[in-house]
């Protein structure tokens, strides 16, 4: 079937060619409407030595948008590189800068993983916004030559009971599920958080991980003059013209000039066949390089491929298969139609390439070739509409040193600590019991099953841990059991109180989650969701968070391999006050040589001793308790001690390797109370727990013991026969450990319960009702 291609929709007279641009220097151009600043437009003219053509203007404006050029964040992101030690580089096969980072996991295997945001599109059209977010990150992974093996999603919404939340949540969740389920990737974890700061600006961050053999690694570049440039996948339509790039860079202002373009609609089926097609092309050695088409579409793919290559590129834009034959060259360059890829193919391989494409019913068109020049030239029916140095489009965009300053309000915020005088605390068994039940039912601590039951976690048959365990664990090699663990975590409240510590706490939590599952943490990806970089307070939050993350990664010896920055997350234009909570979302990847050794979080057997690892301080600033019970956010977040985190992780990994524990669960939001309840509810096995020794050792009261969110802690269930070996190991390594309970299925005729001795008892069924009812009550059973 041949695609309709543009029939010179623009008459030759109207076409803004390079020749015409040179001849009409004075022509007014809509650079401001396209989002360029005056000085940026001047720079484009300087680079070209003439005014840009309409098509060139389109390319520069999308590629120089915040979303594509990282112009506000670049100077800070360099910090990651500065903190990269030789030790950290060891397992790093590809670092920041490619479509996704690649990590060596041994036995000839590598994995590539990355998290990306699709925040603004998901507010406009929740289902398609979230779906195409998942689709986009999967193509990044495919571009590295990897087979995608799992996805995760980190979601943040406004108040759980706000009417617009009832529109956004079901749409986003079914969009994430709709795309991931249809494409056949297990969803192995993520986050769901509710906070009013995200009301008009939800955060939808999606992660994909892929696996490849070392020899299959491919980098996206256009090398070798005479090699062909092939576009394959879906046809190009008017989707999201100026879409992600403009959408992700500007705020929504009701009544303002509408920059809201047509949304992109995803076709996961097309992407599924595209995956199979790409893998077959890679394995048959039929492509030199491959690049996904995401935000900024062809503008991005052609300029990035050419810029990363060793020559120039000539593209015949009229050969692009179109869904809508009336599209202009500018629109074709900016279209963000989904499910497209671009490959560089030697002429000798073209026929074989096209045969594979045909087998999978994937349309492919040869658009042009790599040239021995140094320009990217785009022609439209033989006339040149773009003639630019590709690096100036793709890699040498503007860089801003935005002013930043610690906000004046930060001191007052930190001074407003949730002391006993400031916020009333429960005391005594009755009040503590009621608090536990309210807390486990609160929006941020209740069961996520309403969300995660809409995601296929089984497809591909390699998932061994997923929701609701601490980390997702998937097998990579079926013969050896080699596999990876992943966790995705963020805490906007902690980051608001102290962005530097908040970023490190998110890192520490993801790192700890991976280790809790028994995996050795190896590498990091991050999605940095912040407000407007034009506000010095927001920029300070950003700079602090990046510094905290970079230093934290160095201390833990895990490199940042890639990620994504999403700015302008705000509702209204009151600077810091209308911004979302600063939300660095951190993904940590770990390795297990044999995933059958992974440690689950739930208790299965009675009679296991429950140990608490780490120590508890009174740390309630930014805690879920302060928020859920009092709507309070103030004080300082918990302290981070990354040396301690590394020690804890080491012990947890050894426990898994040596089979010393049956279950392990990290302590995070909601503290010990939440961790105990989750461990109980997993399989309905209860526990008797005593807090006296803990309170005495750490100098805290039962309330603090249950709800403090001190970092660096986990609970483990130890079989009696391993107890000596386990405690010996902790003692030898100097890790604080304390037996705080024993698992218990309840005596004859009695229901299993969580019994906190001397304080209260809650039967499993009552806990379950409280924990599982909240989201269905808001969003429908």
């Amino acid at each position: 079937m041949s695609a309709p291609t543009a029939q010179g929709a623009r008459t030759a007279g109207a076409l803004d060619t390079v020749e015409r641009a040179a001849a009409t220097p004075e022509r007014e151009q809509p650079w401001a409407e396209l989002g360029l600043k005056a000085d940026e437009y001047v720079r484009v003219r300087d680079i070209l030595g003439r005014r840009p053509t309409g098509a060139e203007l389109a390319m520069y404006s999308v590629m120089w948008s915040e979303h594509c050029s990282y112009k506000s964040s670049k100077v800070h992101l360099r910090t990651f590189g500065e903190h990269l030690t030789d030790e950290m580089k060891k397992s790093l096969m590809v670092g920041i800068g490619e479509n996704a980072g690649v990590v060596d996991i041994g036995q000839g295997w590598a994995v590539t993983f990355k998290v990306e945001s699709h925040n603004h599109p998901s507010f406009v059209e929740p289902y398609q916004g979230a779906a195409t977010g998942v689709g986009g990150i999967i193509r990044d992974i495919m571009a590295m030559g990897a087979r995608p093996i799992a996805v995760m999603d980190s979601l943040r919404f406004g108040r759980v009971d706000h009417p617009d939340t009832a529109r956004v949540v079901p749409g986003v969740v079914s969009g994430v599920g709709g795309y991931g389920n249809c494409i056949g990737l297990p969803n192995i974890g993520g986050e769901v958080v509710f906070d009013p700061s995200y009301q008009g600006n939800p955060l939808v961050n999606a992660l994909c991980v892929g696996a490849l053999r070392h020899e299959d690694l491919h980098l996206a570049n256009a090398r070798g003059a005479g090699n062909l440039v092939v576009l394959f996948g879906a046809r190009t339509g008017g989707d999201g013209i100026g879409g992600v790039s403009v959408l992700a860079s500007e705020t929504f202002e009701a009544g303002g000039p509408s920059k809201r373009p047509a949304v992109q609609v995803g076709d996961p089926f097309q992407e599924k066949v595209l995956i199979e097609c790409c893998l077959e092309l890679f394995h048959a050695g039929l492509v030199e390089g491959i690049q996904d088409l995401g935000g900024a579409g062809l503008s991005c793919a052609t300029s990035e491929l050419a810029s990363a290559g060793d020559g120039g590129m000539l593209i015949h834009l009229d050969r692009v298969p179109l869904r809508d034959p009336s599209l202009s060259p500018e629109e074709i360059l900016m279209s963000e139609s989904q499910e497209r890829m671009m490959a560089v193919v030697t002429p000798a391989n073209l026929d074989a390439f096209l045969a594979v494409a045909r087998k999978w019913d994937v349309e492919a068109a040869v658009l042009g070739e790599v040239t021995d020049g140094d320009h990217l030239v785009v022609q439209w029916h033989g006339e040149t509409v773009v003639d630019v140095p590709p690096r100036t489009v793709a890699h040498e965009g503007p860089v801003y040193e935005r002013p930043y300053a610690r906000p004046a309000s930060q001191d007052a915020l930190q001074a407003d600590a949730p002391s006993a005088g400031r916020l009333p605390r429960p005391s005594g068994g009755r009040e503590l019991r009621a608090t536990v039940l309210r807390m486990v039912a609160s929006p941020n601590l209740c069961s996520r099953a309403w969300v995660t039951d809409q995601y296929d976690r089984y497809v591909l048959g390699n998932t061994t841990l997923a929701t609701p365990d601490d980390a997702g664990v998937v097998r990579v090699d079926e013969t050896t059991g080699l596999g990876v663990a992943l966790s995705l975590d963020g805490n906007g409240r902690f980051a608001k109180l102290d962005p530097r510590t908040g970023a490190q706490l998110a890192l520490a939590e993801a790192y700890r989650n991976v280790a809790t599952a028994g995996a050795r943490p190896l590498a990091v990806t991050d999605c940095l969701n912040f407000g407007s970089p034009e506000d010095p307070g927001v920029m300070w939050q950003f700079a602090e968070a990046v510094r905290g993350l970079a230093e934290g990664c160095e201390q833990l010896g895990v490199p940042v391999t890639g990620g994504n920055v999403s700015l302008y997350n705000q509702t209204g234009d009151r600077g810091l006050d209308s911004a979302v909570l600063p939300t660095p979302v951190i993904g940590v990847l770990g390795v297990l040589d044999d995933v059958s050794r992974r440690t689950p979080s739930g208790w299965r057997e009675a009679g296991r001793n429950v140990y608490l690892l780490g120590t508890t301080r009174e740390e309630l600033g930014g805690s879920e308790w302060a928020w859920a019970e009092h709507g309070h956010l103030g004080g300082l977040p918990p302290a981070v001690d990354l040396e301690h985190e590394a020690l804890l992780a080491d012990v947890l990994v050894n426990c898994s390797r040596d089979g010393l524990v049956d279950a392990a669960h990290d302590l995070a939001d909601g503290g010990l109370a939440q961790a105990l309840v989750e461990s109980v509810l997993r399989f309905g096995v209860g526990a008797r727990v005593w807090l006296d020794e803990l309170c005495e050792r750490d100098g805290v009261d039962p309330f603090v013991a249950l709800f403090s969110e001190s970092a660096g802690r986990a609970i483990v269930a130890v079989p009696r026969e391993e107890e000596v070996r386990f405690t010996d190991m902790c003692t030898a390594r100097g890790l604080a450990h304390l037996r705080i309970g024993v698992t218990d299925t309840g005596s004859e005729g009695e229901e299993a319960a969580l019994d906190v001795q001397g304080l209260f008892t809650v039967p499993v069924a009552e806990l379950r009702t409280a924990h599982e009812g909240t989201l269905p009550a808001h969003f429908g059973a």
């Binding site: 879906a234 949304v263 609609v265 995803g266 089926f269 139609s337």
Partner: protein
Amino acid sequence: MGRVVIDVMPKPEILDPQGKAVVGALPRLGFDAFTGVRQGKRFELEVDGEVTPEVLEQARAAASTLLSNPVIEDVVSVRAAEEVPA
């Protein structure tokens, strides 16, 4: 008993994966006359009495709020039903 019929179609500029799948399948079954397919929705709403102007007004409002997503779909028609023979 009256009936209101509402037709909703994906906007022309929006990708319609369903229609695309159908247009791919038709020629394989020997139906070669068709160059494009779009798949939309048809709602039949029942009312107890007659289809009064007020009912139609409600149907129009429902069509543009609940029954269609204005970001990606157009309401093609809202009308009192007449039986159309197949």
